[in-house]
């Protein structure tokens, strides 16, 4: 054995010293470069320390075995009383050791000198120091196989990339399985690279035994080995796919048993008759507002419709302009239409759910604008001392959001919350200015409006699962064809459709890559390779959404621990774990705070209800009660609890008025401080002065 190793060393030592020399020079020369050439340091070091060693391994692989044929020493070597196995492995590993020494030397040279320019790697990039040697071994073993097969160094070097590609294609399905079972990127890289190395080693050894030792054609053996590897690779992929399918089916069944809606068909709300459909009335209101807009061209700019203008910040003159527009009979008609719409039992805007995430939702910005317009109307009425009408206007604003409650689209529900917040801000001003102008009946109306509010995000989250999660997975897994509208949506990216399946373009775009290479990859990935991963990802997604939907039905306080647990599960900081659930994690983390948004809104609404009840109490008894408990059951059947603590809202009398508040999402009593700009920072409070 020693003598064989000695022979290999003697044969390759010249090349080795040459390689070491080049590597050392490529590191030392840039170090002594004048300052103005520091920029070249990175190129020289990357070339010398990473690219050259990899090229050396290709070269060594191609010449180590062919040297014996070219110099015709093969017969002499094989006639020695040594097993062909020993000859092969000694030769293979001797050169491998040489390569590793080269790697270590490279590493030493790489780190020995400080960098003059920018250090182009960070501590997190240490994986590269693992990947370079592994790549070297892969290339070396592929080159060995190539050279044994072709018996010529030059053709072996040229053909090695193809041999490499052949090997990669063989083990690709199996590497997907390894990807699924690996716990980290390092483990996966190690598995995948080892798999490739093992494949080339098997091929090299069998070719050596057949073509070189026994001088027979290796074709049959290579075909048979390829067939076995294919069988293992595709077989294990098929098993993984089956296991993933079963897991996915089980998850789907479980979700269905929990009543979770998974498909687009399930989330589409049932149709309603035209006479019950508020959307038709809203449409008339939108048309009317367009007319008003045309009529008051100049003055309209002060109207908070499709703009962010705050009425209270306008000058008196500007407020007067608004007031004049609002007194227009057309505006009165418009308001009458709104009042009619908010009282209708259903609302179905013409939405194309089948377009998935490409669905157009033009009504949402209009609905939000309506909420602002109503808030402005409330403000102007209150300014004019017409509190009763202001109260009605604000209550109408509060009911406006209900029209969106049936839409199984998360963004619709977020607009509903926003509309509710706008309406609540109107009440914040009004509660201090009623001065007895508002009757108990008006207050009761408000309470009943609040009672009818949707206080959970379940509908929106279900829609998000079907539209976002389900949509992508259905496309990815080929269960759904893309619609014309989606194609339009995709094409709107400005790039020409090049004929690849549009679903893949959606996938590619969703992963932030839209080049041909990534599309080819995703085409293969979605149609075959990545199916087990996608299924695993989809199951993860369903579980994530299901938990979130379940949590949306609980109060913030009772769901607190589960929410933290859910957040921990989906906020996977490790890159590799995120890669496994890439589609899920593109969508789920953004939803983490959605339930909190709803809870802030709920706390606002419920505390407003309590404040209203306290107002009724004062009208009946002449003063506010000492304890909040006094309003129940006299005015409201039961006291709502602060969703953030699970306890009573904090209430105390202050002067002639009172302060009532929820501690808010920070769960800390900030003594009733309310900051409308940052509702999540402090408390959600109602301060009534009289």
């Amino acid at each position: 054995m020693k003598t064989l190793i000695w022979k290999e060393w003697r044969e390759q030592r010249l090349f080795f010293f040459l390689a070491v020399g080049i590597i050392v020079l490529s590191r030392i020369v840039p170090y002594f470069l004048p300052k103005r050439m520091v920029g070249y340091e990175t190129y020289a070091v990357v070339f010398g320390c990473f690219i050259l060693p990899i090229l050396f391994s290709l070269f060594l692989g191609a010449i180590s075995f062919t040297g014996e044929f070219i110099k015709n020493t093969k017969s002499f070597l094989l006639s020695q009383p040594l097993t062909s196995k020993r000859l092969f492995w000694t030769k293979f590993f001797s050169i491998l050791v040489l390569l590793f020494v080269l790697v270590l030397l490279t590493l030493f040279v790489f780190l020995a000198l400080p960098f003059k320019g920018t250090v182009f790697y960070s501590r997190g990039d240490w994986v590269i120091f693992l990947l370079v040697p592994l790549s070297m071994v892969i290339l070396y073993s592929a080159a060995c196989f190539s050279s044994l097969l072709l018996k010529n160094s030059l053709t072996a070097i040229i053909c090695t990339p193809f041999v490499l590609l052949f090997g990669i294609l063989l083990v690709l399905p199996l590497s997907v399985v390894l990807f699924l079972i690996s716990s980290s990127l390092v483990v996966f890289n190690f598995f995948a690279f080892s798999l490739l190395i093992a494949t080339f080693l098997i091929f090299s050894f069998l070719t050596w035994q057949k073509a070189i030792v026994k001088d027979v054609s290796p074709a049959k053996t290579i075909f048979a080995t390829t067939a076995v590897i294919l069988l293992i690779s595709f077989g294990s992929h098929a098993i993984a796919n089956l296991v993933a399918s079963q897991k996915l089916n089980k998850t789907i069944q479980q979700a269905k048993a929990e009543g979770i809606k998974l498909t687009l068909q399930e989330i589409i709300p049932p149709p309603v008759s035209d006479k019950d459909n508020a959307a038709l009335v809203y449409q008339q209101a939108f048309d009317l507002i367009d007319k008003l807009k045309a009529k008051y061209k100049e003055e309209w700019k002060y109207m908070p419709y499709e703009s962010q203008i705050k009425t209270e910040k306008l000058t008196l003159q500007q407020k007067n302009v608004i007031s004049r527009i609002m007194k227009d009979p057309e505006f009165a008609r418009f308001y009458a239409l709104l009042e009619r719409a908010v009282n209708l039992p259903s609302c179905r805007f013409n939405l194309r759910y089948e377009d998935g995430p490409a669905m157009l939702l033009p009504h949402l910005s209009k609905m939000r604008s309506l909420a602002r317009l109503l808030a402005a109307r409330t403000y102007i009425l209150a300014q004019e001392g017409r509190y009763k009408e202001a109260m009605e206007s604000a209550t109408t604003g509060l009911r406006l959001g209900n029209s969106l409650a049936d839409e199984s689209i998360l963004i619709s529900q977020l607009v509903r919350i926003a509309a509710d917040q706008i309406a609540m801000d109107s009440f914040r001003q009004l509660l201090n200015n009623f001065n007895g102008a508002v009757s108990v009946r008006d207050y009761r109306n408000l309470i009943s409006a609040i009672d009818r509010k949707d206080k959970s995000l379940t509908t929106g989250l279900e829609g998000e699962l079907a539209l976002g999660g389900g949509y992508f997975f259905e496309l990815g897994l080929g269960k759904r064809r893309i619609t014309a509208r989606e194609s339009e949506f995709i094409a709107s990216g400005g790039k020409k459709n090049i004929g690849f399946p549009a679903a893949i373009r959606v996938m590619s775009r969703s992963f932030g890559q839209d080049n041909i290479g990534s599309q080819i990859f995703w085409t293969i990935y979605c149609s075959y390779l990545g199916k087990p991963v996608l299924k695993e990802d989809y199951a993860f997604s369903i579980q994530g959404y299901s938990t979130l939907i379940r949590l949306s039905q609980k109060t913030y306080f009772s769901a607190k621990n589960e929410t933290s647990e859910w957040e921990r599960k989906i906020s996977i900081t490790e890159k590799f774990a995120a890669m496994k659930h890439i589609v899920s994690l593109l969508m789920l983390p953004a939803l983490g705070r959605a339930n909190q948004q709803q809870s802030i809104c709920t706390a606002g609404l419920e505390s407003l209800k309590l404040a209203t009840a306290l107002k009724i109490y004062k009208q009946k008894h002449g003063n506010y009660p000492d304890m909040l408990l006094s309003v129940s059951p006299e005015i409201i059947p039961e006291l709502p609890l602060d969703p953030f603590t699970g306890k009573d809202y904090i209430y105390r009398k202050e002067g002639k008025g009172f302060i009532l508040y929820s501690v808010g999402p920070n769960e800390r009593d900030d003594n009733g401080v309310y900051d409308p700009k940052h509702p999540t920072t402090y408390d959600i409070a109602w301060k009534v002065l009289n």
Binding site: K71, S75, F76, P81
Partner: protein, 298 residues
């Protein structure tokens, strides 16, 4: 099987469907013999030898070398056999001493003093690099390596091919000396018959993968004869003889080369009334040419 160091039955090597290099070879090499394995270039000699050493997989048949199957036990066979390949190339960057040092650890029976002795006898400079050696010297180094581990059987695959006559003679002299001293079995393939005749006591002739004959050399020479018949008039067309290998007509003279010759069989020729009948002895080359040749060899 102990009396034979090499024994094959139906040994066949087929490279492709049409290319059968060795066809059902039944070969027996007695222990202690010097067996010359004759055949033209491409007759299948090297293929046979490579199969005997386990360097090539046989397609069919059986083979035993020193009682071992070469396919199953190539390493023990190689340890006990000294082998010089056809035009053997060693590592040309090594010196002779390095080549010896390289091979020595592979053989437990390596004899250093024998190696030293052979170095002297062959007048080989230890420090000379293989690439600096003449073909004759190169052959001697190969022979040294084959002999220094004291093999029971020496297999030489056309060791003198490409050598000039002087070197060839020198090389053969070396072999003859060893054979006389060590009394080894030598299996010696060649296509140069004159040199084989000097040292062999057994001969086998291979043609197109088939073994035409395999006999002790004396017996071969006794059994293969040339019969020269001279006729007064026209030579009859139907002259035949048992074991007739070749028939040549030169004017009124008919030359028959026959195998399995016996004096009794000569009587059968009397009926053709030849003017004279003469029985001639043949040398190995004549025999070989009669057996395989249309044209002269080597």
């Amino acid at each position: 099987m102990a009396e034979y160091v090499i024994e094959t039955q139906g040994l066949t090597k087929r490279y492709t469907r049409r290319n059968e290099a060795v066809k059902s070879l039944d070969l027996k090499v007695p222990k202690g013999s010097v067996y010359v394995f004759l055949g033209r270039n491409g007759a299948g000699k090297t293929t046979t030898i490579r199969m005997l050493l386990g360097l090539l997989q046989k397609t069919a048949g059986k083979a035993e070398v020193l009682g071992l199957d070469p396919d199953k036990n190539p390493v023990p066979i190689k340890k006990r056999v000294g082998y010089v390949a056809d035009n053997q190339k060693m590592y040309d960057w090594m010196t002779i001493q390095e080549t010896i040092n390289f091979c020595r650890p592979f053989y437990p029976t390596w004899n250093n003093s024998l190696a030293e002795d052979l170095l002297k006898r062959f007048e080989l400079p230890k420090r000379a690099k293989i690439k600096e050696l003449s073909r004759g010297m190169n052959g001697k180094v190969a022979l040294l390596l084959a002999l220094a581990h004291q093999p029971e059987l020496l297999i030489l695959d056309d060791p003198t091919s490409g050598l000039d006559p002087v070197v060839r003679r020198e090389f053969l002299q070396g072999i003859i000396e060893i054979i006389h001293q060590e009394a080894k079995t030598v299996f010696f393939s060649t296509h140069i018959i004159t040199e084989a005749e000097q040292i062999a006591d057994y001969a086998g002739v291979l043609e197109e993968g088939k073994l035409l004959l395999s006999q002790p050399l004396d017996k071969l020479k006794d059994s293969v004869k040339q019969i020269r018949l001279i006729f007064e008039n026209k030579v009859p067309d139907d002259v035949s003889f048992p074991g007739l290998l070749k028939k040549e007509l030169i004017g009124h003279e008919l030359v028959l080369t026959v195998k399995d010759y016996t004096p009794d069989a000569l009587k059968s020729l009397a009926r053709f009334n030849p003017k004279s009948t003469e029985v001639l002895d043949l040398n190995l080359e004549d025999i070989f040419v009669s057996l395989v040749g249309k044209e002269a060899v080597a």
